[in-house]
């Protein structure tokens, strides 16, 4: 009995440092955010007061909030499947025995190593009308002069393309690692059985990659809601909120408008949304994933 107690205490003591840090930097802020979302924003001598669900009611009537939600969904739908498919394609490609393989792998991975702000500035130049890279190429075909970032219909897509370019290389690394784990004997067996390469990929390789796909998918979903540095650097949410994403709007509300109460409410919405996605992915997809 005494021994079990001391083992228990021992265990808890070992957990304490990590638990304390988590509590201080993750759990306390989360709880405080939820609490603040029910309170008004303090201003000078006017302290914050309890206002119940007022911040959430404001949100329902806030067109920019809804615009940001819709933008974010388009952004997620535009970036997640494309970057994962591209990552898989690149991984399969550089997994083969070909000359300059190391160089190719590095080239694909380079965008991931660059800081987001640097990437954003590079792409800002690509998209510049007239003398930007894209317009210069278009000019060879007698077109160009197109204001990519300054037009509502194209601005969000410009950001989506840039994100896919940046993310695909990162996901490729995971796929590449997973591909190398697949024993070559499977491929040999399949070719003995006369299976085509596509059939082998579809029925053997792809199912074996499922755990990686799940992991990458969760990361991609979180990233699509979590990364806004490039929006800040490229368009600042404009033109007329066409590229405002949820987290960008949250940042703007909390740190530009200094409406911390409303900012907290937006944070709670984002947390709930991400939590729901993560749970859904774990409970739904996890059952379909084949772990070895």
């Amino acid at each position: 009995m005494n021994q079990r107690l001391s083992a228990n205490i021992h265990g808890w003591l070992l957990l304490l440092p990590a638990a304390a840090l988590l509590a201080l930097f993750t759990h306390y802020p989360t709880a405080a955010t939820v609490w603040q979302s029910f309170r008004s924003t303090p201003k000078g001598s006017r302290p914050s007061v309890f206002i119940g669900l007022d911040n959430y009611a404001t949100m329902l009537d806030d067109p920019i909030f809804w615009k940001s939600v819709v933008n974010n969904l388009i952004y997620a739908a535009g970036t997640i499947p494309t970057s994962i498919a591209l990552a898989l394609l690149m991984a399969v490609w550089v997994n083969q025995n070909l000359a300059g393989r190391g160089f190719l792998r590095m080239a694909y991975f380079t965008p991931t190593m660059l800081p987001m702000i640097a990437v954003a500035n590079i792409w800002l130049f690509f998209y510049t009308p007239d003398y930007g890279l894209i317009d210069q190429v278009l000019k060879l075909f007698g077109r160009g002069g197109y204001n990519w970032l300054g037009t509502k219909d194209t601005a969000l897509w410009c950001i989506i393309v840039m994100t896919v370019w940046k993310e695909a290389g990162f996901f490729m690394i995971f796929y590449l690692a997973a591909l190398q784990q697949i024993p070559p004997s499977l491929a040999e067996a399949a070719s003995l059985e006369g299976a085509s390469r596509w059939y082998f990929f579809r029925r053997v390789v792809f199912p074996l990659l499922m755990p990686t796909t799940l992991f990458v998918l969760i990361n991609a979903v979180i990233n699509s809601f979590r990364l806004v540095d490039h929006v800040l650097a490229i368009t600042r949410g404009g033109p007329d909120n066409a590229t405002s994403l949820l987290l960008f709007y949250l940042w703007e509300t909390a740190f530009k408008f200094w409406d911390t109460g409303y900012g907290a409410a937006l944070t709670v919405v984002l947390l709930v949304l991400l939590g729901a996605f993560a749970l859904g992915q774990y409970f739904y997809f996890d059952r379909r994933v084949h772990y070895r």
């Binding site: 201080l24 802020p29 300054g150 037009t151 033109p239 200094w258």
Partner: protein, 434 residues
Amino acid sequence: MSFISVRGLKLALAGGALLGMASTQPSAALAQNLSFYYPVAVGGPITKLIDALASDFEKENPGIKIKPVYTGSYQDTIAKTLTALRGGEPPHFAVILSTDMYTLIDEEAIVAYEDMVKTDADKAWLKSFFPGFMENSQTGGKTWGIPFQRSTVVLYWNKELFKEAGLNPDKPPATWAEMLDYAKKLTKKGSTGNVTQWGVQVPSSGFPYWLFQGFTTENDVRLMNAAGTETYYDKPAVIEALQFWVDLSRKHQVHPPGIVEWGTTPKDFFEKKIAMMWTTTGNLTNVRANAKFDFGVAMLPANKRRGSPTGGGNFYVFKKSSPAEREAAVKFAKWATQPERAAQWGIDTGYVAVTAAAWDTPKMKAYVAGFPAAAVARDQLPHAVAELSTHENQRVTRALDDGLQAALTGTKTPEQAMTDAQREAERILKPYRR
């Protein structure tokens, strides 16, 4: 979430400070140690200039130590200041946008200069600045900011392209009609019908309201009242001004379509993609260094009158400070705006020297004689008005920005866009009218 974790972090840091650094505190009582936040918003070695300013001041004023803290852009600076304020440790003084005045007052963060200055010489100092700059620095009969790095909007034109188009290269457009007429002559199309050179460009990304104020002031209408509690976005003259801007690209096709990036506008000018541009005087040194052709600088063209908004940053002194610290901060602001220093600062950076006396210094006179374009901003100052600034400033200007971008991209008519913007501003400002 992160703004709360900042508080958590502060808590942790305070804990660390209690444990480790408690012993260092008493020794600081002798000298005045002032922390000073400042932003960098234009090109050039600004941080070096500021450090030199601080060390020169320390040499002349032993007993006062200035600790300049570079805090990023204007936006970052106000963010860091307000975060520090909520953490209980704001800087002693800072350079922050003149338009953040109401925000800082509402946060009860700053002290009015009238409550700090005592001598007649100091009171005269408060009156020594160009009135155009003081509009954004005073409200409710008190002075809250001292102009330091200030600017206005001017028109730059490419003299070579003017010559090519058969225009007099030394005569900039003086009116809207002239600007439109010149722009039509300066717009060139390639063989396939796409435009290779635009007549004029007014950037509209980020903070279009500032350049828009050029149009509205010239159309003789104000966007807000002096108390910062009302906006007039939907007045007919405002809509008319926006219609003119929109027509430049949509109707006359002499201005690039859509939203034009602020940051690449000078580059467009250097690349001869545009023949005329509207941008800040703060770009003067940049254009002088990079334009490979003869260029001119002029006041913005007039419609009903001349006009431009002012812009840039002021010195603010923070409330959470001892009387001795406030005195030292005022002393620094006064020292940095002395005619010679203000003149040198203007020459080094391209900002408009903030007092008339600074323009009368021999150094400035010699500079203007060699580079007359530098004086255009000063000459425009009598026509200049305060930059748009109200309570809840960021939100109220954002409503206008959204409206402007909607009209410029063609999603709304100017009238619809301004009516919507005004409705939004009304909603935000209502609580401040009581």
